[in-house]
Amino acid sequence: MTAVAHGSTAVDTPTQHPPAPKKRFNRGNIGTMAVIALIIFWCLAPFYWMLVLAFRENAFTFETTPWFTHVTLENFRYAFDTTDNAFGRSLLNSLLIGSVVTFMAMVVGVFAGYAMARLSFRGKGAVLAAILGASMFPGVAILTPLFQLFADWGWLGTYQALILPQISFSLPLAVYTLTSFFSDMPWELEQAARVDGATPGQAFRLVIFPLAAPALFTTAILVFLASWNEYLLSSVLSNGVASVEPSTVALALFTAGPHVVPYTQTMAAGVVVTVPLVIVVLLFQRRIVSGLTAGGVKG
């Protein structure tokens, strides 16, 4: 590369080095672009196909035309049907379960995250090990006793049976992410605000909260996504009671009447389950990536 800045009105001094050959630069670029295009195709093609089928008449399920043909909205009627035990009901269930789980896990997790990040206390290592251990935990290991316990309490197929275990299971994620966010926060600003005469309440409200809000929000999104994704515990603990099943379980059991392979209806249901998440993820991608890579990986 020449050392002459672009657009500089310097006198034309003959440069020492010949300019770098343009061809190599381009070839590298085209190679990169090709791989990038391939990556984008690989990631998006299945998702695109789901969209195409969701809008296609069921009779044309196996037509391979790769764009929208035989377009119909019929499939979405199934997906949004909120009458008793239909798929739409499960969407509402997912929303309810996800919201409650997220709220509870955040309330409990914020305290623990703050303590882990800022306080030194005896047994901190043990608490951290317990939290990490719980996050690596195979869900099946507690499924049997939980199933029995909830059966004894008459809880199988109730909302609380789906919500309570999920709160515990999302706590490691919440605490871990919040701990990592909180340890990177400039807490000395709080001190500075106090020195400047702010009350503890003001220091928190005006200084700390605005700084912490994005971290809380990001963590909440991650917890909600995890809850929306959950399948194993929900499928067993809902115990076949369709009125409390979340959408993942309902989707796995999706039927659309006899003698129909309900592929297009299933894809419509899949689109309905997925699109809100995709929108959230795309809107907040920067935050989500920072949340995902928080802790462990100090970028």
């Binding site: 984008i40 997790g109 706590l171 989707l251 990536v289 890579t293 802790g295």
Partner: protein, 339 residues
Amino acid sequence: MTLAKPAAGQSGTAPLPSAPGPKRNKIKTGEGRLAFMLVAPTVALLGLIVGYPIIKAVYQSFLSDTRTIDPETGQFGEAGAWAGLTNYKQWLLQQCPTPTGRTVRCPTGTLGSQFWDSVTVTVGFTVVTVLLETVIGMIFALMMNRAFRGRALVRAAILIPWAIPTAVTAKLWQVVFDPQGILNKMLGTNFAWTSEVWPARTAIVIADVWKTTPFIALLILAGLQGISADIYESAKVDGANAWQRFVKITLPLVKPALAVAVIFRTLDVLRMYDLPQILTGGANGTTTMSILVVDQLNSGLNSASALSTITFLFIFAIALGMVRLFNANIVGTPGKGGK
């Protein structure tokens, strides 16, 4: 005595009294009690929903599911009587109990006869998917790390598979893998993807790699972005070629991030349940250990407890081994001196 000039870059403002270090900003009064109050709810919830069930499961795994005849008295015992290691024998040695209190080799088709197969399948899935995801994820990350226009677009694109719930992923690939589906039409093949052993396994690996490679890629990318460009520049000057730069600079420096990603993913695949359960129903050699536990739930909770305990110990042992192997600092908490 010479007065040292303030180092360049130091701000001109006087430091706050007892300026805390940037990473070790501690409160000093009543710390222990405050911390206890803050952490207690989390510990209580984990204890109630994770700790207590685990202990209960371990205890139950030594109890009998069936009523057995006591060989001494000829009386039927109670279901739930102490059974020692019977349940563990059923799984580890594939010896099923008979009503007369003896054990026989588990007949083919019973869940007991599938244990070692499920271990093999689970480990196989883990090795193959984690390997593929790491390699592909590395390629993704290296591509995204090059400065080019549209990086945001790629990041958005690779986040989409990650955002799709696993249940949807399974259904989506089920449609793609249908014998009459788009994949066979594109390849011109006629595979019965989900009803033959190896195609079914391949289908699960492909679906899992599609969904979770982005996660690994993002973790690796975070590691890559922490490497300064100067190192590469000086390596170039010293005449290192691209491969040498990758092996000697990139890999060692990205290793911590890579280790975390690989360990998390390994533990995830070891407990894999929903993808094979929905995509193939666990049929045709795709029954993972988790699927076997859930299948066993309906035919005896105590031996299901034994199986889930085995699964848990198995995963725990592998986790421990990997952490040792990578010497990974999974716990990136500040104030612990770990780096």
